[in-house]
Structure formats: structure tokens, C-alpha cells
């Protein structure tokens, strides 16, 4: 008789649903959150303001003479305009005082940093719009949060292999291993 009482309420759909929902929340919300550390850029760089001044992407993100991509500009490029404080934005003051005047390069966090065994040629993809792979940074006022995988150290926002392969396949470009790997 007592055994029957103990079992009352422990069966049924409700405890299962509660457990299921809890597991879903843990797996889909809490764990991914734990997996990545959130980082902010050392300087609140606004692409929007620079774009409004009439600057093009290629004005700062340039190719070198050998066709390699220089990526994020160095102090040398930034100081062409920002050797001294020009505007009233506090972020600019931070940049000028902490980096431009001390000669220290800004340790920018690179969202698209690829693993060591990947080689990507910006030159080969020059005919495409920047925004076909990158977010439309021209409208971006505050740099997005940088999510870093706590285990691998890689950024969450990198281009994934399936995206590269899909675009190559759709456009009839070689998907040979060596097209992207080194």
C-alpha cells in the first residue's frame, strides 16, 4: 500500500516535460554561452562615421604590391588623419592618446581569423562585394562583440568551410583541398 503512494506523482508527462525543457535550455542557451568568452575591441571604432566621411573599404583595407591583403590598417595609416584629436568622440581620444602618440599598434580582435592551415586570397575574390562575405560594416557604429571559443581560441564569427565550399561549387570554382588549405 505504501509503495503505491510513493509512486503517485512521479510518473506522467509533467516531470518529463520539465526535464526536457531544462535540458534544452542548458544545451541551447547556457552551454553555448559558457563555451565562448565575450570580448570587446580595444577601441570603439565606428565604421559608420568613416563611411560617412566618404571613405571606401579599400581606402584603409589595402592590397600590398605583391597582391597580399594587408587586412586591418596599422597606426601609419590611421595617423594620416588621427595624429591628433580631431572630433569630439571619446573613442578617438582613446585611440590618439593610447596608441597613435605612443606608437603602439592597436591589438584589434579579428573576427575572421582563420585556423593556421587555411589560406585565403582576398585578391582572388576581389570582384565580389565585401558584403557578400563580411557583415555590412558601413552601417556599424559600435564594433560587434567578439566571441572567442574558450577551448580552441578561435572566433565564433569566422567563415566556415561549408560556406566556402558551397560558393565555390555554385560558381564552378575548384573545391580542391589545396585551393584553401596549406
Amino acid at each position: 500500500m505504501e509503495e503505491k503512494k510513493q509512486c503517485k506523482g512521479c510518473g506522467g508527462a509533467l516531470p518529463f516535460v520539465i526535464g526536457f525543457v531544462a535540458a534544452l535550455i542548458a544545451g541551447w542557451v547556457l552551454f553555448p554561452d559558457l563555451m565562448y568568452s565575450k570580448k570587446t575591441q580595444p577601441v570603439r571604432f565606428s565604421h559608420k562615421i568613416h563611411q560617412e566621411q566618404g571613405l571606401e573599404c579599400a581606402g584603409c583595407h589595402t592590397f600590398r604590391d605583391d597582391g597580399s591583403f594587408a587586412g586591418i590598417p596599422t597606426n601609419e595609416k590611421c595617423a594620416e588623419c588621427h595624429s591628433d584629436v580631431q572630433g569630439s568622440d571619446p573613442a578617438e581620444k582613446v585611440y590618439v592618446e593610447q596608441y597613435a602618440k605612443t606608437g603602439k599598434e592597436v591589438p584589434w580582435l579579428i573576427y575572421q581569423y582563420q585556423p593556421d592551415n587555411v589560406i585565403f586570397s582576398h585578391k582572388a575574390h576581389e570582384t565580389l562585394e565585401c558584403t557578400s562575405c563580411h557583415p555590412d560594416m558601413a552601417k556599424n557604429d559600435t564594433p560587434p562583440v567578439f566571441y572567442q571559443n574558450r577551448l580552441s581560441g578561435y572566433s565564433k564569427q569566422t567563415m566556415k568551410m561549408w560556406k566556402c565550399e558551397r560558393c565555390h561549387a555554385e560558381n564552378g570554382v575548384s573545391n580542391a583541398c589545396h585551393a584553401c588549405h596549406k
Binding site: D65, K123, A124, A176, C177, H178, A179, K182
Partner: protein, 262 residues
């Protein structure tokens, strides 16, 4: 052979090594190790465990003085037209599928079964028995052209493939044609560094590249041609005993067999 069709490429990167010019100095081996981030080993005495994408062999005509002669033979990966290593790979970590005909090797995909090593008659493939250990400070001087490999994967020469990508980028930047690079625009580290100019490199199918003619010369030969793997690496020597060693044991089962191909 098993319905396997040898793939044709418009560009075929090839190497022609003049064995009469090779002094065996080993500069090519050193350049290769630096370019491809091959870590120096603490104990390299066990030659079954060393890594050398390019290895210089010493050959002798086995005669007593004054007729004794030696020759040196640098051996990179042959980038075979019909590679023995590719069909045996269970995970497609190695493939010959890109314009230029370079046999690729993808380290993160490799499971270290070493079937390819068993299949390669040139012993051009190497297994990482240990994780690479770079002396303090050297890890900051690694080449960005090649990723480092962990323990448990196979690696091999890839004709410094990143330099091919870079040469194409430079052609695009300077208004050239990346699909028809001029002679010398793309050079592996070994060919670039060779002090006697013994190593020539270029597109075997492009008549404007000097390897096109060199590979057809009457003193040109390839290693173990009877196996019909069609290497993209050619050797040249005016010395007959050297050319005979190139097909060692292959044609008749006896050493120093006559060349059977045209």
C-alpha cells in the same frame, strides 16, 4: 587500372634536377625545412623517424679508384601523374585534383594510417611520430606559408604550394594572368636556393618554361618509370651509370637495367 582515369591538367608543375650540377651541399634540404616548418629533432639519429620532405641521396658507381664516382640525388615528392598514394587513402586526406597537378596532403583530415607511405615507392612521405618541438624563440620565426603538423599525421613535399597561391596573387595585382604564370614567377624554396642552379622548376606543358625542353632532353629520366606513376620530377645526367640507377631493379628485376621507355 581499376577503371581509374589519370586526370589531365592544363598546367603541370614539374621539376628538372640536373644531377651533374648537384654537389650534395644540402642547401635545398635546409631551405625546405625552414619554408615548411619542419622542427629540428632533439635526437635525429633514428632515420626512420626523421622528417625530410626533400632528401638528398648519395649514389656511387661502386668502382674502385681511379674510376670511382659519386652523384647526389635530391628527392622531393614526385607529384605523380598517377599517384600510388591517393587511391589508398581511406579519408581523402590526399588528392590530386587541382590545376597544376600537385598532390595535396591535408593534415587535419589525415588519420595516420600510413597506407600512403606504404604505397609510395619513392618514400616521399613521412609520419610525425612526435609533436614538433621548436627551440625557444624559433616558434616566433615560423614560416606563415605552411601550417605545423601534430603527432600522428603524414606529411610530404607539396612543391611549396603556398608560393603558387602567392604567385597567382602577384600576377593579379600586377595585371598578369594567374593561369599562365611566366617562367620563374613560382619557385619552390629548394629551386630558389640551389647555389649551382641544379634544380629547375616550371610548367612542363608551357613551351615558354625552360623545364618544358629540359624534361624532353635525351639525358632526362624519371625514377622507377616502369611503375608508370608518371612523376612530374625529372632528372638529368650525362653519366650513364647515374641514369641506370634511376630505374634500379625495375625493368628486369636486376640492378642497373636498361631503360625500356622511349
Amino acid at each position: 587500372m581499376h577503371g581509374h582515369v589519370e586526370r589531365e591538367f592544363k598546367i603541370t608543375w614539374g621539376m628538372v634536377i640536373d644531377l651533374d650540377k648537384c654537389t650534395g651541399c644540402g642547401a635545398c634540404m635546409t631551405a625546405c625545412q625552414v619554408e615548411n616548418n619542419i622542427a629540428p629533432m632533439l635526437d635525429a639519429s633514428n632515420k626512420l623517424r626523421t622528417l625530410s620532405w626533400l632528401l638528398v641521396f648519395e649514389m656511387s658507381n661502386k668502382k674502385a679508384a681511379p674510376d670511382a664516382e659519386i652523384a647526389y640525388l635530391p628527392r622531393p615528392c614526385m607529384q605523380c601523374g598517377n599517384p600510388a598514394c591517393v587511391p589508398v587513402c581511406p579519408v581523402v586526406a590526399t588528392d590530386k585534383n587541382e590545376e597544376g597537378g600537385i598532390v595535396s596532403q591535408i593534415y587535419p583530415r589525415c588519420i595516420g594510417c600510413r597506407y600512403c607511405m606504404a604505397a609510395c615507392p619513392y618514400h616521399a612521405r613521412y609520419f610525425n611520430w612526435e609533436d614538433p618541438i621548436f627551440p625557444k624563440g624559433m616558434e616566433k620565426a615560423l614560416s606563415p606559408n605552411t601550417s605545423t603538423r601534430p603527432r600522428g599525421v603524414v606529411e610530404k613535399c607539396n612543391f611549396c604550394h603556398t608560393r603558387f597561391v602567392q604567385a597567382k596573387d602577384k600576377a593579379r595585382q600586377t595585371g598578369g594572368n594567374p593561369d599562365a604564370l611566366p617562367d620563374g614567377a613560382y619557385m619552390p624554396a629548394c629551386a630558389e636556393v640551389c647555389p649551382t642552379g641544379a634544380i629547375s622548376f616550371g610548367d612542363l606543358k608551357n613551351p615558354e618554361h625552360k623545364v618544358h625542353e629540359l624534361a624532353k632532353g635525351k639525358n632526362a629520366f624519371r625514377l622507377l618509370e616502369k611503375l608508370e606513376l608518371h612523376p612530374q620530377v625529372y632528372y638529368v645526367s650525362k653519366r650513364e651509370w647515374v641514369r641506370k640507377l634511376g630505374d634500379n631493379y625495375a625493368a628486369t628485376g636486376k640492378p642497373g637495367a636498361e631503360k625500356k621507355h622511349s
